[in-house]
Amino acid sequence: MTDVILEKVGKTYPNGYQAIPSVDLSIEEGEFIVLVGPSGCGKSTLLRMVAGLESISTGELRIRGERMNEKEPAERDIAMVFQNYALYPHMSVYDNMAYGLKNRGIAKNLIEEKVSDVAKMLGLTELLQRKPRQLSGGQRQRVAMGRAMVRDPKVFLFDEPLSNLDAKLRVQMRVEIRQLQRKLGTTTLYVTHDQVEAMTLADRLVVLNKGKAEQIGTPMDLYNKPATPFVAAFIGSPSMNLIDATLTEQGVKISEALTLPLSHQHRGDIVWGIRPEHLEVSDEQNGDFALRIQAVESLGAETLIHGKIETESANGESMVVRLSGPHLPDVNSLMWLTAPMSHWHLFDAKTQQRL
């Protein structure tokens, strides 16, 4: 069943600035959708429009079939977790969680029951009488989630909830959020700028760029078949090698001296891409091209090699190669590589669309 529908939803500010031209998205019940993009891409604005904290300029938002554009945030049956948690500092953890229920006139004993259930689920039982300032970052994060869960809303909205935590806690909370969402089966819309967070959490990802949905799909769809160079560069770490090239009868012409053979109908300027992990080490006879090594980053489990494609005219394209295990090639030496055709990504340079 479709739970949340955004139909040509757009946002134009009173000063004429168009933050979001038009976004279409339909979310299934229980689905975990992540909105991801660089800062200023409009992802938070979109989330706040769903929450009712920003007005919707054009288009329509429907939750369970009901038009929500004119509804107050409280009437939309949503719960939101804010980046800074937005816990009420003068209230205890219990009161923070009970506030929304009290406002809805729910009986006191029922509130107690619900709060203690959620507190148990999140391991907050011991902390119910504490004030937010007496909690650690991770605990505050849990309270913020508890406050959202206790109301049992139709939709959870998360606005970069993990960005204030340290790296270790972030990974831990990421796993916890995913498990909780699975268990509760609540439709979730989650905003982040971190592509790892996005890939690991999402059932489906929405990559936003300048207020437009560049691509919507499962994390693997986006990884395997990015629709645009923007998505290709954004998903995956280190990001995909993208090189301006020309498609000719002979194949992909990267420079005067280097053409990778390919038979393709399309002609003209393209962007040729290959992920760092898909390049393979080769030798002079079998290699497609050579890389002049500029830097080596050894991470133990993998090694990242940065270099430039070796050409006569000294200004070759930069490339990153990701090899598993430790490697220690000399800086400034040449490394021959093959680029398997099955891992190529071709984009039209003009339309920025996948070929």
Binding site: E72, A74, A79, F82, Y88, P89, R133, R151
Partner: protein
């Protein structure tokens, strides 16, 4: 950070002007008052006699003194509560204004720059029973306004005049306090189903409590000690004793009634009250509620 001066004399030299002002205008008169409180002096200041605690005994057996104390309490709490409520209301309104925000804020700060006596005179003219526009309007509305005869009306007048001056100060602090409340808290409360009214009383107002408490102390101190000019310009403590606050009584008894010893004893009591309020202010405001 500690700054070290090469010579020991320079820091004292830099402090000297402030120390001089404090010594001449605060410490010396305070010492004089303390001394005078134990003497009885003739009206011309030619001779005096040590009488021990008699001035204090007279003071605390005088029903008029208690009357004045009550007047001061009524006056001070009225000024503090009326002034703070209005200022909070204005601050909430100003916080919501989007267009012309600065103009509203500037206009609301102006009264603070008006000298107390001028403020007193202004309200005195507005409420003058025979020609004041507000008094005439009240009369046409059926209220028989004459603060020269009616003690309660005189009290209302001094409360209005004193409050008006203090609203700007309260407004500034409340506005700053309101702007320091994170927007996301209000938004979270909105999602939690709280009406705007409820959001204000359950989220914003409690978060303003450090500001509110600070302003309460400041307003009480203001009403106690800094409203002499306003009272002198509007009612001169009258009619009868109805607007004679403790500070006004010091002046009235000392410089009008020429009971210098009794007046000095009253100032000593006031000094003790100031000291107490300062202690309260520091004890509680330093320890004000911390929100992270």
């Amino acid at each position: 950070m500690t700054v070290t001066f090469p010579q020991k004399g320079l820091p004292w030299l830099l402090l000297l002007p402030q120390l001089l002002v404090t010594a001449i205008f605060f410490l010396w008169p305070a010492e004089q008052a303390l001394e005078q409180a134990f003497y009885q002096e003739d009206a011309f200041g030619l001779s005096r006699e040590f009488i021990g605690l008699e001035n204090f005994i007279d003071l605390f057996t005088d029903p008029l003194y208690y009357q004045s104390m009550l007047t001061t309490l009524v006056f001070s709490f009225s000024v503090a509560i009326v002034g703070m409520s209005l200022a909070l209301f204005l601050a909430v309104m100003a916080d919501r204004v989007i267009r012309g925000k600065l103009a509203y804020q500037t206009l609301l700060i102006w009264p603070y720059a008006v000298a107390p006596v001028l403020a007193g005179v202004l309200w005195w003219i507005l409420f003058d029973p025979s020609m004041g526009p507000i008094a005439l309007w009240l009369k046409s509305a059926g209220v028989d306004w004459n603060h020269y005869l009616d003690g309660n009306q005189a009290m209302i007048l001094v409360v209005i005049a004193s409050t008006w001056k203090q609203i700007s100060y309260n407004f500034l602090f409340f506005l700053a306090g309101l702007q320091a409340v994170p927007r996301s808290l209000i938004e979270a409360a909105a999602i939690d189903g709280a009406s705007p009214f409820k959001r204000f009383w359950t989220i914003v107002f409690p978060l303003l409590s450090p500001t509110t408490f600070f302003l309460l102390v400041v307003n009480l101190v203001y009403a106690f000690f800094e409203t002499f000019g306003v009272i002198d310009a509007t009612t001169k403590g009258g009619p009868g004793q109805s607007t004679t606050t403790l500070v006004y009584k010091v002046f009235d008894d000392g410089f009008v009634g020429l009971d210098l010893g009794g007046s000095a004893a009253q100032s000593v009591v006031l000094m003790a009250i100031v000291g107490l309020m300062t202690v309260i202010q520091f004890r509680f405001i330093e320890r004000k509620v911390q929100y992270s």
